[in-house]
Symmetry: C2
């Protein structure tokens, strides 16, 4: 007998859920690979299936269930792996184009989303009680449209063997910029919403000093992490490499990644930005190839869990056009989806000085992650968004996630 | 920005906890390896340290926190790995000695524990209100002493490169027998306690039919799993090997393991017995070496978490002799510890027909896992055990876990 009560139910069902994720994930994605489609799209769809079948149980009451935490480990390992294959100097070389792409990719969707709301109101498609309500809705929908989720694109670029391309570097750099800008927008919007909802006015309550502090903290983290990391990382990994215990190098690399993820969050950034920085730093160590080699099977286990969990969050019933209430939601979702694509695709022109496929860069910026959903749920909870608007935004986020992989395959795969 | 609210606290602290486990685990165990001591003992002690420092936070409210579930995955992978390196035919060849070792290893500690309680009562070291209370305490303490936790021994045998030895096979076989017997004892004792506690009598309420059913289910699972598994596993893994998606073979092997773990629990056995059976079956496939190779880094990540979690469960304050109440508990614990060692070490004579190191087999049976603690906590909750008796049993379990690795190193390491 072993560590647990053999009669307990949840341990067995937990093993079964994990097995289901692996089996359904690999079968569906193998079919996609067979027909030369994005493997990651197969995992997303496997997630949708598992969600419909109810095969992913939820654990925990703290807002993070077990599989959600596993998926966070997965996306951190993904970005670490991407960082490991990226040359920091190359990334700095495309710094300016990345900055421009990142800024356009935030400003354009925000502006387009904002004016879409006003246009729809003028067309009497939606109506708002007051000008303030309309302003707040426009702000929230605009903000939801801004945040790129780089995980999907990074994975597809990896599948296509294009991680060393200039396009990949511009997108990865722009994703970092996007994250910092997203952080600032989050602070500003939540400041506006929290005062406006109470006072009914649209005064901006957050001070420019606060915005400066948030920005300085985020950029400061990135610069400090890279500079300090450069000082001691090589020596640290010579030490770790010489440790005698089984798996020291792999666990050392993972611990390093997780600490950077922690520090990134401490600076207000997404943990995966820290994981990406950790990969960039370890790319310069002598142990890089060994780490990459030993990380691969671990990545194979954890990364699919992330994409499957993203897929499993899709509420398929929201797409049912036979339910009358869904139709307006679907139309609004499709309008926002078109806006979401245009807003990001035009960001590709930011790389105007480079001899690259600008369309690919724009497409790479399309996927929105659950950060978009955070904006949306903030809007829902504060009463700024109606349930329909919230559902439409959810559908828009999902569609951007599903459209990017096939588009990248179409426009960036070698013939 | 990524999948989660970058301002949430728990995600960052979760990454930090995971990093702490890896860092402290590898530093302490590397020191042990350096001085030619058991690596696993280093991980147990790292767990004690992490527990004292409070660096392992608990998640979830369902009785299984996140790290506990990770550790379950770890011990399942460990037993799968051990199964993969074990030849089923060899195991069947040592079937009879294993059976005898397993039976002695259950009967001897149970009898010794039972009579220790009566002896201590005669010496007025402990006193019980009634004869029934004394009988129930003796039963519960005896039962707690029976269940071997094979994870520790398996890991040490692996470290010593002795998994192919006959001693290893006898211990592994005996652990399976032990698990089945433990299951039967658990059913019997909980039947006795649940009626006796209410009626105040010591009638045995569980029928022999029920015991037969439980035994048949457990043995039936093992035999069916091996027979049916033999029929389709080779073909299944040729199919899985030909799947195109990244990591299909590794994830297929893990899913197979987890399904067997689920089925074992469904049959009333510990999940790790199923994982072990899965390893035995995959050992006969053509993909065995590939699976072993790709599993290694994943095992390096998960397995230490199990041993660290076992270590972190140690309540160090129970060992403080300066707290007066602890002294009687410590004496009782030490008496039970001696009984626990003798009871298992003599089980080695069960392999009397083989030309093996019988002391090593006996030592290999010493470690008690948390199943012992399940018996103990059942006793505590039902009021059969006092808090002191419960604490003494907890200490006894911990000591058996910590004593086995150095003893195996001493008596089984090649000079």
């Amino acid at each position: 007998m072993s560590i647990d009560d053999p009669n307990s139910y949840s341990l067995g069902s937990f093993f079964l859920a994990l097995a289901s994720i692996f089996i359904v994930g690999k079968i569906v994605s193998s079919l996609f690979v067979k027909y030369k489609q994005p493997e990651v799209l197969g995992e997303l769809i496997a997630g949708v299936l598992l969600g419909i079948l109810g095969l992913i149980p939820l654990y925990g009451e703290l807002g993070y269930d077990f599989f959600h935490l596993l998926s966070e480990v997965g996306v951190a390992i993904l970005l670490f792996e991407i960082g490991l294959e990226t040359d920091l100097d190359d990334l700095i070389n495309v710094g300016l184009p990345s900055l421009i792409v990142g800024i356009i990719g935030v400003v354009a969707p925000f502006g387009l989303g904002y004016f879409t709301v006003y246009t729809l109101a003028d067309l009497n498609f939606v109506s708002f009680g007051s000008e303030t309500a309309q302003f707040l809705t426009a702000l929230t929908i605009g903000a939801t449209l801004t945040a790129t989720s780089v995980g999907i694109t990074a994975r597809v670029l990896s599948e296509l063997g294009k991680l060393k391309s200039t396009e990949a570097k511009v997108v990865l750099g722009a994703a970092v910029i996007d994250d910092v800008l997203g952080l600032i927008i989050l602070a500003v919007i939540s400041g506006i919403i929290s005062t406006s909802s109470i006072s009914g006015t649209s005064d901006i309550s957050i001070s420019s000093t606060e915005i400066l502090i948030i920005s300085a903290k985020a950029f400061g983290f990135l610069i400090l992490a890279i500079l300090l990391g450069n000082l001691f990382t090589k020596k640290l990994f010579i030490f770790i490499y010489n440790l005698k215990a089984r798996g020291s190098l792999l666990l050392g690399a993972l611990a390093y990644t997780f600490i950077f993820a922690y520090l990134a969050q401490f600076a207000g950034l997404a943990p995966i930005i820290g994981a990406f920085a950790a990969g960039l730093l370890l790319a310069k160590t002598n142990q890089k190839d060994l780490i990459e080699d030993r990380l691969k099977p671990v990545a194979d286990v954890f990364i699919p869990i992330f994409f499957i969990m993203v897929g499993s969050a899709v509420d398929i019933t929201a797409f049912n056009p036979f339910i009358k209430e869904n139709i307006a939601v679907i139309i609004l979702a499709l309008v926002l989806f078109v806006v979401a694509i245009i807003g990001k695709v035009i960001s590709g022109i930011g790389a105007y000085k480079l001899n690259v496929n600008k369309l690919v860069i724009g497409i790479g910026m399309i996927p929105r992650g659950e950060v978009g959903l955070i904006f949306a749920s903030m809007g829902l909870v504060s009463g700024v968004l109606t349930k329909s608007e919230y559902s439409a935004l959810t559908i828009m986020v999902m569609l951007t996630t599903f459209i990017a992989p096939p588009l990248l395959y179409k426009f960036f795969r070698d013939k």
